[in-house]
């Protein structure tokens, strides 16, 4: 579904990604792990269009998207959340969701009711409340998003991305900063969503319980290169992986 061929990327003076070859199959829950600074976030940037790969190509469903901007890829079915959750801090949680749903209306060229109306329509409001309940934010719908806890912001951002009904969702550390209970819940939520709606997941994560609880495929990245990729249990046993990454932590 999503493929990287020989992708390279450098910041001025630092080579961050080298010759990355990666295939994400439709329906996978694909986790990328690696030590801090390995280049996971940079890889996400290049795959999602926030930055453009300097070498190699990125294809999505057979189409070359290497040079497409983020908003164009989103229109094709990409979704993305950030390592440090990004929401609209000066709006209420509900308004955050309304903005996301209205963006979906624009993508699909749907009308949101009479053009002269300033308030969002009733149907859209109902959907917004449902979607907030789905990520367990129904109780804080009228709070300003800027005052939410870190974990709540993460869940809101996940909800905003899901509102666009993406085909492939890139999650950069979806459970960072959450309590162990919240983590388990997010794992359940993501599994449920992925089975219910035909969704492909690509995520990075430092928490091994989340990784092995969720991933159907595992890729290890270190110093900008892929060390191993495959079935999670098998990758876990590879000596080179134990040495470079897992060995340090477990």
């Amino acid at each position: 579904m999503l493929e990287a061929h020989g992708v390279g990327f450098s910041y001025p003076g630092i080579r961050v990604l080298q010759d990355i070859n990666l295939t994400v199959e439709a329906g996978e829950r694909h986790a990328i792990i690696g030590p801090n600074g390995a280049g996971k976030t940079t890889l996400f940037k290049v795959l999602s269009g926030e930055d453009i790969a300097q070498e190699g190509t990125v294809t999505y469903q057979g189409q070359d998207v290497t040079r497409k901007g983020a908003w164009e890829r989103v229109k094709l079915g990409f979704g993305r959340t950030f390592q440090v959750a990004r929401v609209f801090p000066e709006m209420t949680v509900l308004d955050n969701m309304i903005v996301a749903l209205e963006c979906r209306q624009r993508i699909r060229h749907e009308s949101g009711g009479p053009w002269w109306k300033v308030a969002a329509g009733r149907l859209l409001l109902e959907e917004a409340r449902e979607r907030l309940a789905e990520v367990r934010l129904g109780g804080v719908a009228d709070d300003e998003a800027g005052i939410l806890s870190h974990g709540d912001k993460k869940r809101l951002e996940l909800g905003l991305s899901l509102a666009l009904e993406p085909r492939i969702l890139l999650l950069d550390e979806p459970t960072a900063g959450m309590s162990p209970d919240d983590r388990k819940e997010v794992v359940q939520l993501l599994k449920g969503l992925q089975e219910k709606r035909d969704l492909t997941l690509l995520l990075t994560e430092h928490d091994m319980d989340v990784v092995f609880g969720l991933a159907t495929r595992l890729t290890v990245l270190s110093l900008g290169q892929i060390l191993a990729s495959g079935d999670p249990e098998q990758v876990r046993k590879e000596p080179v992986v134990r040495e470079v990454y897992l060995g340090q932590r477990h």
């Binding site: 999602s48 926030e50 901007g69 983020a70 908003w71 989103v74 229109k75 990409f78 979704g79 993305r80 950030f82 990004r86 929401v87 609209f88 801090p89 000066e90 709006m91 308004d95 309304i98 903005v99 996301a100 209205e102 963006c103 979906r104 624009r106 993508i107 949101g112 002269w116 109306k117 300033v118 969002a120 300003e144 905003l160 991305s161 666009l164």
Partner: protein
């Protein structure tokens, strides 16, 4: 946070409608007040209030600093006046709308250059430079009166074919300004509070997040540019017949500072903020009009104090008072409940 600060006293649709009506009646009664100086100032105030909101659509709503807003205002003012003076019998309303379109087209051009090439402070400086271009063009153009300005601009006659309204009679042009600016404010209110306003406000907070919601951010910033430029030009188009004269100062960068100061003073996060700022500005100008020399000093000092004391501007201060009132009411109700 984008709620209207006027909600302190008036909430709900009815309250708001009656407040707007009260404001309209108050302004409409100005020509009946003794002394004619006030009427001219209030007419100017209405025009400048629209000018200030047009700037704040870019700044407070979309997060783009435009240091060249006067260029659109002047383009509309000169464009309308020039078309009026052409001897082709063009109806005034057509000249006015065309003047607005000149501003809109200029905004598209500036937006194409500035949004593509620059961001942040570079964007601001580029908008300033492109604005000064209009100033220079006016100063060297014979048709626009060069440094002397365009003089003797008459109040127009509105021709509706079946009947005519001569706006030169009495204070009719004042009421024309009132109606025209009320329509422009209504339109800008609709932009600010509607679906378009919501996404522009989101872009101001985090353009990258909005890109990842599938929005071509640059195109929406361009929309904000066109709306801000066109409404500034339409406000400018009302100026010529009101003042009877247009001078190049209207396009100077110092005139661009006016809507910036009004918006900061009133509160950029609120739709009515720039209007509140424009009113205070006009009032300060009025009470210091007999102090030549120290006038700027007094106005500058007062602005400094207000901006420092009220970070959210006048509207922000009013919003805090509202929150305080509401909290007090809630605690009072609680106490009353526990006493019962």
């Amino acid at each position: 946070m984008r709620n209207d600060f006027l909600d302190v006293y008036f909430s709900g649709v009815k309250g708001r409608a009656s407040l707007v009506l009260a404001m309209l009646i108050l302004v409409a009664s100005v020509p009946f007040s003794p002394g004619s100086g006030l009427t001219f100032l209030v007419g100017l105030l209405m025009i400048q209030a629209v000018f200030a909101i047009s700037f704040n659509i870019l700044f407070g709503l979309t997060g783009l600093i435009s240091f060249g807003q006067a260029a659109y205002f002047a383009a509309g003012a000169y464009g309308t006046a020039y078309l009026m003076q052409l001897d082709v019998g063009m109806p005034f309303l057509v000249a006015w709308v065309l003047g607005g379109l000149i501003g809109g087209v200029f905004a598209i051009a500036v937006g194409l250059v500035a949004l593509r090439r620059a961001s942040g402070i570079y964007f601001a400086i580029l908008s300033l430079a492109l604005g000064q271009l209009v100033y220079t063009v006016i100063r060297y153009s014979d048709a626009l009166g060069r440094d002397d300005g365009m003089l003797g601009i008459d109040r127009p006659v509105l021709n509706f074919f079946l009947f005519q309204i001569d706006l030169g009679v009495g204070e009719r042009y004042f009421y024309f300004i009132l109606i025209a600016t009320a329509l422009l404010v209504a339109f800008l209110w609709w932009v600010w509070h509607g679906k378009l306003g919501r996404v522009l406000f989101a872009i101001r907070q985090d353009p990258d997040r909005v890109r990842f919601l599938g929005v071509n951010v640059q195109r929406y910033q361009q929309y904000a540019f066109v709306i801000g430029g066109t409404t500034a030009a339409l406000a400018g188009g009302l100026m010529g017949p009101w003042a009877h004269i247009l001078t190049p100062e209207l396009a100077h960068w110092s005139y661009s500072a006016l809507p910036i100061l009004m918006s900061l003073l009133g509160g950029v996060a609120y739709f009515w903020g720039p209007v509140a700022g424009a009113i205070v500005f006009a009032w300060l100008g009025y009470i210091t009009r007999t102090m030549p020399g120290i006038q700027e000093l007094v106005i500058g000092g007062v602005l400094l104090v207000i901006v420092l004391a009220l970070p959210g501007g006048i509207a922000g201060g009013a919003a805090r008072i509202r929150q305080w009132l509401r909290r007090r009411r809630l605690t009072n109700e609680k106490e009353a409940g526990s006493n019962a």
